[in-house]
């Protein structure tokens, strides 16, 4: 008699058997016992206790949070509102757009890459300091003003900048009145900036369009809303492939998926009513 394979038995732990499998398990003591033990193994895995936290885990995290200025009882609460208040999907689109624009900037400026640099001070309102390899740091008052291109993926704050000729960059500690533009390279930078602006505009417009359609308050029919949600989910999924641990994208992805699931249930319910 040919017994069921281990993988077939593993499948039978939580799926119904095919007719021939059911007949075999009924008649074969060895396979029945093996299946019982596989079920017990699965149940034991589900009942495993959580391991203890390593000692000093909180202290280590607290230090990391303090180093980033994320933990402080004096920090003011941040308020949300404005045009997106009460419209989670529009907030989703706006925030996601901000996140992805960094990638769009990199793509649009890819052709202008040059020296390898390190970037610091990228929080909003901070000046961006660019450290070219072997050169003096450069400064721009607005991060968006620095034409940079990411080098590689992930969260490394290492980027490649075009040659130090952009009029928006000022040489720190230099008394020569700033960088001297070189016409050909300047034209290249301007062209890249135009491409970036176009890419940004198109991306934001698309996201906002999807979000506006997907919003229950939009008045769009459910099928159209579903299509818009699917597009948003696909967009966030693509972003997650590049930055799977990003909390913002994960949060918005979950929100869009939940909205889609709710809409699916609603549509399924409507289907049932028709019959």
């Amino acid at each position: 008699m040919q017994h069921l394979s281990c993988e077939e038995l593993a499948r039978l732990v939580d799926e119904p058997p095919l007719p021939h499998e059911a007949a075999h398990v009924r008649d074969c003591l060895v396979c029945r016992r093996e299946l019982d033990e596989m079920r017990e193994q699965t149940a034991a895995l589900g009942a495993l206790a959580d391991p203890e936290l390593p000692p000093g885990a909180w202290a280590s995290l607290e230090a990391a949070l303090q180093a980033e200025g994320l933990i402080s009882t004096a920090a003011p609460a941040r308020a949300w509102g404005g045009w997106t208040a009460g419209r989670p999907l529009l907030r989703l689109a706006a925030s996601l757009a901000l996140f992805v624009l960094g990638g769009a900037a990199g793509a649009a400026l890819w052709s202008a890459r040059g020296e390898r640099v390190a970037v610091t001070g990228t929080t909003q309102g901070d000046p961006v300091v660019v450290h070219p390899a072997g050169g003096m740091p450069l400064l721009a008052s607005n991060p968006a003003d620095v034409p940079l291109t990411p080098v590689g993926g992930g969260e490394r704050q290492e980027m490649t900048a075009p040659p130090r000729t952009g009029a928006r960059m000022a040489s720190m500690g230099s008394n020569d009145g700033g960088p001297r533009p070189v016409p050909a390279e300047r034209a290249s930078v301007l062209r890249a900036e135009r491409e970036l602006a176009e890419a940004e505009g198109a991306y934001v417009a698309a996201l906002q369009r999807y979000a506006a359609i997907a919003d229950p308050a939009s008045g769009a029919d459910p099928v159209t809303r579903m299509a818009a949600l699917e597009r948003m989910i696909a967009t966030t999924r693509e972003a997650l492939e590049r930055t799977p641990g990003d909390p913002v994208i994960n949060g918005y992805h979950l929100a869009a998926v939940r909205e889609r699931d709710a809409l699916s249930r609603q549509l399924a319910g409507a289907d049932k009513d028709w019959f």
Binding site: M1, E34, G245, V248
Partner: protein
């Protein structure tokens, strides 16, 4: 105090609220990361990284899902990301040297230890799916979404993982010569 209220305070940097959230959820986060990492030191790093990401992103959390769901997903994805970034260890898939393998019929500490050890010896792909499905209770659809594979692939990996676990935990079955092996 509910999680959502703590989250509001934590957004302002309130140390007490952050600590309370941490105390409430840290063990679960560490557990899933630890099992996916298969290594204490890595798990500690990835777990901390997940928490820093979460606290950093609190202003963007609008309560549209449970805080614990959001947190857990970030922890899982941090572990997946960390795993992909890390150089693969050679020789992970080694058989247990313990010849006194327990049968999973009881709830004793030794059995749990053996289960944990056996999971650590699974190949990465199998371990991820087994941990997410059988230990953490995610559905195949959710796992497929996280891993970027279709649910059918996820199921296939799960069945192989269960079979492999069975081999790692049990003496050779009486009918070993008759069944297909599942050592893939």
């Amino acid at each position: 105090m509910e999680d959502n209220e703590l989250v509001k305070l934590a957004r302002t940097g309130d140390g007490g609220a952050i600590r309370t959230l941490y105390q409430r959820h840290a063990r679960r986060v560490f557990a899933v990361v630890r099992r996916m990492a298969g290594d204490d030191a890595l798990a500690e790093d990835w777990s901390q990284e997940a928490w820093v990401r979460v606290i950093r992103a609190l202003p963007t959390f609008r309560g549209e899902s449970q805080f614990s769901t959001w947190l857990h997903r970030i922890a899982v994805n941090s572990a997946l990301h960390g795993r992909r970034s890390r150089e693969r260890k050679a020789g992970r898939e080694t058989m247990m040297d313990d010849t006194h393998a327990a049968r999973p019929t009881g709830g004793d500490a030794l059995l749990k230890l053996k289960l944990e050890r056996a999971m650590e010896r699974l190949p990465d792909g199998m371990r991820r799916v087994l941990v997410l499905h059988d230990v953490e209770g995610y559905t195949h659809e959710e796992i497929g979404e996280m891993l970027g594979v279709n649910p059918g692939t996820c199921k296939s990996q799960l069945f192989k993982a269960r079979a492999k676990m069975r081999n790692l935990l049990s003496p050779a079955p009486e009918f070993a010569g008759e069944v297909q092996t599942c050592n893939t």
